[in-house]
């Protein structure tokens, strides 16, 4: 088994959370989508984010890596203020280069894969390590080969995305994100766009990452998967965290009526 996290990372004391979301607010054209969300994710922890469609799960995930700029609140990843640098007692907005450097420490996997269609699987994977991390061609290729083997499709290295099934494309997308050796992985409904028979192959890859100690936030509707893999399940509704806890507790004994109502719908 290849290890994504190096030894040093694993042995760090568990003091600071890897991701610390503090009072994030976001509205689109006067419509409040997030009402001050706070959430910590610790090293090696897998947090599954569940909730009805439109409750702000994607927006929260996109605020974490600043694809969406929060109106208020602050995200810290590994102690770094995302999108800002500290100058004296003010937070100064970062330029696009510095922001890009911060983002490279977070991997993101999208519902619609978003592979680059003009590049092969290998080229998709090596692009950012080569350009952003300035890895040598050999090093980047070695990572691509290792990761494609890890997600179980080493034979598809030189295929273009259009020649791959949805499940294979999503596995390439995961490999592409992992090639940056991110401190945290953010998954936004990674299996929602897949045909049913391909869901399991992608979930297996994510489960494997969880077992390996990757820090992850996974937005998902796959409750069985969440029960199985999550260290903590967070239930969101209407831009607020309604409740959170270990998967058993949350599903067996939810303390809010809204959680109960949602769970009864998704656990058929």
């Amino acid at each position: 088994m290849t290890q994504i996290l190096d030894k040093k990372q694993r042995e760090l004391p568990e003091t600071l959370p890897v991701v610390s979301v503090n009072g994030i607010k976001k509205s689109f054209r006067g419509h409040d989508v997030l009402h001050g969300i706070s959430l910590d994710v610790h090293r090696g922890e897998t947090v599954c984010l569940i909730g009805p469609s439109g409750s702000g799960k994607s927006t929260l995930l996109r605020c974490i890596n600043h694809l969406e700029v929060p109106d208020d609140g602050l995200v810290l990843v590994d102690g770094k203020t995302i999108g800002y640098r500290i100058a004296g007692n003010t937070l100064v907005e970062l330029g696009s280069r510095d922001l890009a450097a911060q983002r490279s420490a977070m991997g993101m996997v999208f519902q619609s894969f978003n592979l680059f269609p003009h590049l092969t699987a290998r080229q998709n994977i090596v692009e950012a390590p080569r350009r952003v991390l300035r890895l040598s061609k050999e090093e980047a290729n070695a990572r691509a080969e290792e990761l494609m083997a890890r997600v179980g499709i080493a034979q598809k290295l030189d295929s273009y995305p259009e020649k791959l099934s949805g499940g294979q494309q999503q596995r390439v997308a995961i490999a592409r994100a992992l090639a940056m050796r991110p401190k945290v992985m953010l998954f936004d409904e990674p299996t929602s766009a897949l045909d049913p028979e391909m869901v399991q192959e992608v979930l297996a890859v994510i489960r494997d990452l969880a077992d390996d100690g990757m820090t992850m936030v996974v937005v998902t509707h796959e409750m069985r998967f969440a029960m199985d893999v999550a260290d903590r399940v967070v239930f969101m509704d209407e831009g607020r965290i309604v409740e959170q806890g270990p998967p058993d507790q949350l599903t067996q004994n939810p303390s809010h009526e809204r959680t109960r109502a949602f769970l009864s719908k998704v656990i058929a």
């Binding site: 911060q102 977070m106 680059f116 003009h118 950012a128 290295l157 030189d158």
Partner: protein, 296 residues
């Protein structure tokens, strides 16, 4: 209703011969088209006023060949400059700076709305507006001063006019190409930590290029023909060279045919190049898969 054949009832259907379906309509239209084409061709070839000998005599005349050089050269330089400036204007228009976007929109509006002919005359006569042009600090001292009559000869005026016009069109083309890409491409690149410049050069521009090639080919062909307008500022392009010749020998129609033939030849070559480029871009993926697919 078709009669369904039961296979077990007629096992011999598997051995039947097949015939192509009959398409009498196509035969009729083909015959009509061939007839009209033959009629047109005979008229053109047998009408003595076309003076095919004169056409032949002037087809490779040195002044004509020089004129072709000017037309093709102007097209190439203008296209090259317009691609660079057009990309910049498109990016300005799509960028995050409101002011830049406004400036770009204004530029596109101005240079798309002023007819090419008006622009050429304007640049050619610019010397009348600004007898001298100088480089320096605005409202301050100037470092170099040019006599605009000598600087803005017909060729410079033509290239400036054509380039401004073409830049405006190409900017819109490039912008539409970039806008047609799904937003997920930008997001994926950004999430990987790529800078906006890296995202443009490595991710969005190569994809937009494929979409833009066909309309860009049309743009290039239109530009070639638009260069014929420079004859109004007495620049010896293909058309003006032809005009100079028939002004003396009054062989107007044959010489215009010479010009037409050359415009058709150049357009034909450009069309072929465009088709090959399109085919290469669309086939690239399959070729690469075949080359690299040895591990399968």
């Amino acid at each position: 209703m078709t009669k369904a054949l039961k296979l077990d009832a007629r096992p011999d259907v598997l051995a039947l011969k097949r015939a192509k379906r009959r398409r009498p309509g196509i035969w009729v239209t083909n015959a009509i088209v061939i007839l009209f084409a033959a009629m047109a061709l005979t008229t053109v070839l047998t009408n003595p006023r076309f003076e095919w000998e004169t056409v032949g005599a002037y087809l490779f005349e040195i002044r004509i060949l020089k004129g072709i050089g000017v037309s093709v050269g102007m097209t190439a330089v203008t296209m090259f400059l317009s691609l660079i400036f057009g990309t910049l204007v498109a990016l300005m228009r799509m960028g995050s700076s409101r002011l830049m976007a406004l400036v770009a929109s204004g530029f596109i509006w101005v240079f798309r709305s002023i007819p090419m002919l008006v622009q050429l005359l304007f640049w050619y006569n610019l010397a009348a507006l600004f007898p001298t042009l100088s480089l320096g600090i605005p409202w301050g001292p100037s470092f170099v001063t040019f006599d605009s009559n000598s600087l803005l000869g017909p060729l410079t005026a033509a290239v400036i006019g054509l380039t401004l016009h073409e830049t405006a069109y190409i900017a819109e083309l490039i912008r539409s190409g970039l806008l047609s890409l799904p937003a997920g491409q930008h997001q994926a690149a950004a999430a990987l930590g790529m800078t906006p410049a890296q995202t443009f050069f490595r991710i969005t521009a190569p994809q937009a290029l494929r979409i833009i090639v066909p309309p860009m080919g049309n743009e290039l062909i239109s530009l070639l023909k638009a260069t014929s307008l420079v004859s109004v500022i007495s620049l010896a392009d293909l058309l003006y060279s032809v005009q100079l010749i028939y002004a003396k020998n009054f062989q107007t129609v044959p010489l215009l045919i010479v010009a037409a033939i050359w415009y058709m030849v150049i357009t034909g070559v450009l069309t072929l190049l465009q088709q090959r480029l399109e085919r290469r871009l669309s086939r690239q993926s399959e070729l690469k898969v075949k080359k690299g697919g040895s591990s399968l």
